[in-house]
Symmetry: C3
Subunit: 184 residues, 3 copies
Amino acid sequence: MSAKVPIFFVFVMLFALSSANPSKRKQYTPCKNLVLYYHDIIYNGKNGANATSSIVAAPQGANLTKLAPQFHFGDLIVFDDPITLDNNLHSKPIGRAQGFYMYDTKNAFTAWFSFTLILNSPYHEGTITLAGADPTIKKTRDISVTGGTGDFFMHRGIATLITDTFQGDAYFRLRIEIKFYECW
Amino acid sequence: MSAKVPIFFVFVMLFALSSANPSKRKQYTPCKNLVLYYHDIIYNGKNGANATSSIVAAPQGANLTKLAPQFHFGDLIVFDDPITLDNNLHSKPIGRAQGFYMYDTKNAFTAWFSFTLILNSPYHEGTITLAGADPTIKKTRDISVTGGTGDFFMHRGIATLITDTFQGDAYFRLRIEIKFYECW
Amino acid sequence: MSAKVPIFFVFVMLFALSSANPSKRKQYTPCKNLVLYYHDIIYNGKNGANATSSIVAAPQGANLTKLAPQFHFGDLIVFDDPITLDNNLHSKPIGRAQGFYMYDTKNAFTAWFSFTLILNSPYHEGTITLAGADPTIKKTRDISVTGGTGDFFMHRGIATLITDTFQGDAYFRLRIEIKFYECW
């Protein structure tokens, strides 16, 4: 009997250890998921009532009401975009996406984002801060969750950006799928 | 006697496991706390000697020596603010808060921050990098600690911003309470 | 015999626990290392073909083709710099460093960085997002890894910036040593 005790304990112990930090399993199963949409209408000098973003910095020779030539390289855009649960611009917002992005390549459309999703609804209360590059030549356009507060206290994870629609410079909508792997 | 061994071990093991990652307890007791103040004097075209921050980008029609209309939407401000342990602008600084913020809403005073506290004193040596939204309509204005070096190597946590004084566009002071929940 | 079982188990358990979260050992041995170089040529109004970065925001009185006086305080530079494995600008790039930095002090050369290394080579596939202050008066110029994707999924760590060469405003090269302490 006593010879079996060690075996039994090793199993219990291994099981316990493997579940001690469940968010870090090799399978990388998310501990929480979110799918959201946000909607961006850039200011063009005439649409002040509807615009949700504005160019505030631009390279030499460009201006603040028209995206710069050379793949918009050097434009820095501040935004305050409504977040919705579906892809309809006119759905009731559940929060705002606030921050900035900038176009950062002269020979391709790539952007660098840093912003916060501020969720304030019956579903979610808290913020998710994100940062990363959007290299459109890659099949996955993943950026990182760098912080969270409220319902997302200390969370970490990955957000995948998908351009859901792009209507020239007038309007674009991003689908953002957030997978948290560290949830607290 | 041998029958009691398993029970004893289960208790020891559970206790050991629950303390294996103490910073992640459900109670969320901080592993370290800091309370600091930082002081911002924005450049207005005349106060170059005293100013600690400067508007460097602004929306169409605004300039760099006066905060923009529409709740300053689109202004991006670079700062290098002294940090003190109390709320006196003239106390000996223990470091600098360096980075930027931008006003990001057209119909309310909200800002988005990303900056680093560089502490260099007998008390602390290291940096704390922060990012997040400051939605003034919420009672808590929490932003995230996204990184740390030196004494704050790999730390993570939450920083609460509190406007300690606000004298129009001339001067403001923020109280920042940092609670680290992952300390290394 | 049964008296020895507890001792044996205590050792096994302690060993198992100490290796449960190996990336967080007190010795702080990195779980992964990278050494990279990136190369920055700032736009001066004439070098459009070669430039990899551009001033897009500047303080009152400064312009976008010449770094500002007062230690460049207030200049915000967007960059898309080639990354190489050695210090040769003309080596085959293994990726791009994309993001921005700004000069943030009026009486010293200090900068604040936030950017992403986008690696795309036979060696590495993924992104590393970084943020932090570069206080040149300190012997260590450490910034924080705030996120990672792909091969660097959920990684955290510290990056040390070293100015490898600085040729006035024409060209600089940074050596960046990244030590990951949380690798997944």
